[in-house]
Symmetry: C2
Subunit: 464 residues, 2 copies
Amino acid sequence: MRLLLTLSAALLAAQTAFAAPFSDSVLQHTEDLRHHAMISHRPWQILESLTTEVGPRLPGTEGDRRAVAWAQETLNKLGFDRVYAEPVTVPHWHRGHAEASITAPFPQPLVISALGNSIGTPTAGVEAEVVAFADLQQLKDAPEADVKGKIVFIDNKMERYRDGRGYGPVVKARGKGAVEAARKGAVAMLLRSVGTDSHRFAHTGMMRYADGITQIPAAALSNPDADQLTRMLNRPQPVRVKLQLGSEDRGPQTSYNVIAEITGSRYPDEIVLIGAHLDSWDEGTGALDDGAGVAIVTAAAKHILERGKRPQRTIRVVLFAAEEVGLVGAKAYKAAHQQELDKLYIAAEADFGAGPVYRLDSRVNDSALPMMDQVAMLLAPLGVTRGGNTSWGGPDVSILPEAGVPVAGLALDGTDYFDFHHTADDTLDKVDPQALRQSTAVYTLYAWLMANAEQPLRPIPPVE
Amino acid sequence: MRLLLTLSAALLAAQTAFAAPFSDSVLQHTEDLRHHAMISHRPWQILESLTTEVGPRLPGTEGDRRAVAWAQETLNKLGFDRVYAEPVTVPHWHRGHAEASITAPFPQPLVISALGNSIGTPTAGVEAEVVAFADLQQLKDAPEADVKGKIVFIDNKMERYRDGRGYGPVVKARGKGAVEAARKGAVAMLLRSVGTDSHRFAHTGMMRYADGITQIPAAALSNPDADQLTRMLNRPQPVRVKLQLGSEDRGPQTSYNVIAEITGSRYPDEIVLIGAHLDSWDEGTGALDDGAGVAIVTAAAKHILERGKRPQRTIRVVLFAAEEVGLVGAKAYKAAHQQELDKLYIAAEADFGAGPVYRLDSRVNDSALPMMDQVAMLLAPLGVTRGGNTSWGGPDVSILPEAGVPVAGLALDGTDYFDFHHTADDTLDKVDPQALRQSTAVYTLYAWLMANAEQPLRPIPPVE
């Protein structure tokens, strides 16, 4: 009841303060949608189904094919107006068996995970002395003689923040560490996991090679294993590690962006895109990354569909293929829809766990800021505050603003996200059903309001 | 300062209330020991050294041999009056590679750990339909037709308590599940991990076979994997699992109980035994189980040694071999010291993580209860309360009361212990240095007081 009163007050304030970008009937329907969403089991059911019946779904694998089939079947059963799949050529990287151990001075096994895209080692493995660097820059600054013939260990540690801003500074070493190490003659690269937990799960994720630089195998160590290695390196004896990776590139495969729509009643060719990615890393079941996002955007659209009021614009749910291996599905989507991008009213993504959502960011024309402020006020009863106007929209939609597409960011609480991100431990039990429900409610209201907004959002502020 | 005042008050009260079982100089020295222990890095240094320089130390393995060498070297360096090792014949069970997956209806890998003592599977593995039981009793009650040819899954879940009393009711299924399953013709046994966490670590631990019953392979599933299997079993399709274990018995090896003593000044042949076990399971580094115990009892004795006042009785630190595989070192100790058991004044063990210690239990003659109450009062400034007189003493010393030996239990807080117990995640980062320090302080004062107590503790109440 208190929430309802708060919402009514917010509505009143909003109506009074601004020219009305939303009609009364649109505003009234937000209450119905919110109430419906906040008691719905739908997002949980979708997530439970995806993580149980598909599980891991690395691009190009059998799991990926099953995920596409699952998505088509699920979206069709939910009764959307259109459900279709668009082919995407994706890489198929095979993890294979991964094993590592300290061989001297104190032999013991290490918990590792091959980094995505890494080559394998010879079957007998690679064994060498370890040389540690605090971060990528220290490796870049090191003399070649310190590195040549050794296994480079990059020991930068991720810090925990609600918005995940600890990720950027350390993930560079995951992407580029092997190249920088190989440049100086290293035989392999080990990385302290990009993760905030202290459990023996190594966090995988993409790494890259560079033309003309020798490709060397690369793997992440769990945080406790990185600690252990560091303790040994702090002792006088040289530390040697043996690494065996069975990873290999298995060549291109066809996957699909799977798409569902509620056709708009008034502007059917104008699109409000809400996306998530269907693929996942292979060691967990991708519950947080990005099963939760799939559940949030799918259930949000379904909430709107089943409450009977058709939106004026088309709401398009896009479940992107192969995000993890380089936004492959997103790039294919952008290319395939090039002619239609000017019809994208606004795009948003859910790819940061199950939430709750705590903030609305945007990247829209200044003239539309009062309207976005009103959207935030309408989301306030769900605990959402208004952020800024420099949103990137989320990974897959991040490449759209450069084509002029407005985006919004519904910030999911990522405080614990990197405890599980890209590990075997990303499983359904890590998802809080109530947070998932709230996040879905926020995406529902957001999509409904955007699909019925009366103002243009373009041109957007330039992307740096 | 407040602690000191509290202690002085406790001393005064104790002195007033009872005939004095401790001399003034003994009592005064407890303050010095407590102060010293509560600022000491010693237990952490010992634990860091053991877990780093030895790491996993499964009985009969190279790690076990290194642990024995480490213990002898460490105890000698600490300057104890006597350091010696007594041979123990231990089994060498080899884990080998373990792999499992759901093959139908929704293929995906499972995180498992072979149970200790399990046989392996044929190289190609065992694949069969899964039949689930809520607990061991339900399996015992099941008709043979439900079980024959299947993989039995026992799904009992451990509850969390500070004193670990959730362990007993569920661990029975680990020990006896394979026998009961095989009795009805099952081809393998899977167990929901005996653990309180929800991470993808399977908890290993001992299982047993019975004469005349077919030996079948047995493994634990992590809790999230048990959840996942349960979700599938709740769907209509039959669920099939494939299990491959490379486990095997590699025959007997020689290990050692490693022992250190401070010779008593007045009753050198009377012994206050404080024990822990040196071996560990092989997937973690045995930081909580039982590196912490090794650190606590070793550092406690060292605290007494280095503060210069010699105890009247001999304090004997026993680092038992092969506890995990069936109290093997403890049984060997008891047999080897049969003639001397009547000289054991009292025995205690630390084998439940790093603490803190919250309670003193005992099993002593009723006439000595006021003295034990006074010991508890002297430990009260460290946060310890007085428990009862039905202590079992801890795993390795639990076989001593049946020979009339008094025991004490210094109860370590085990609230989180079974999150890590017998998993790869039992590593140094899980130990709170301050808890370890407090626990060591408690064992220090306890050992000092017992070694200087003026009252007999025998005969003890009968063991049921």
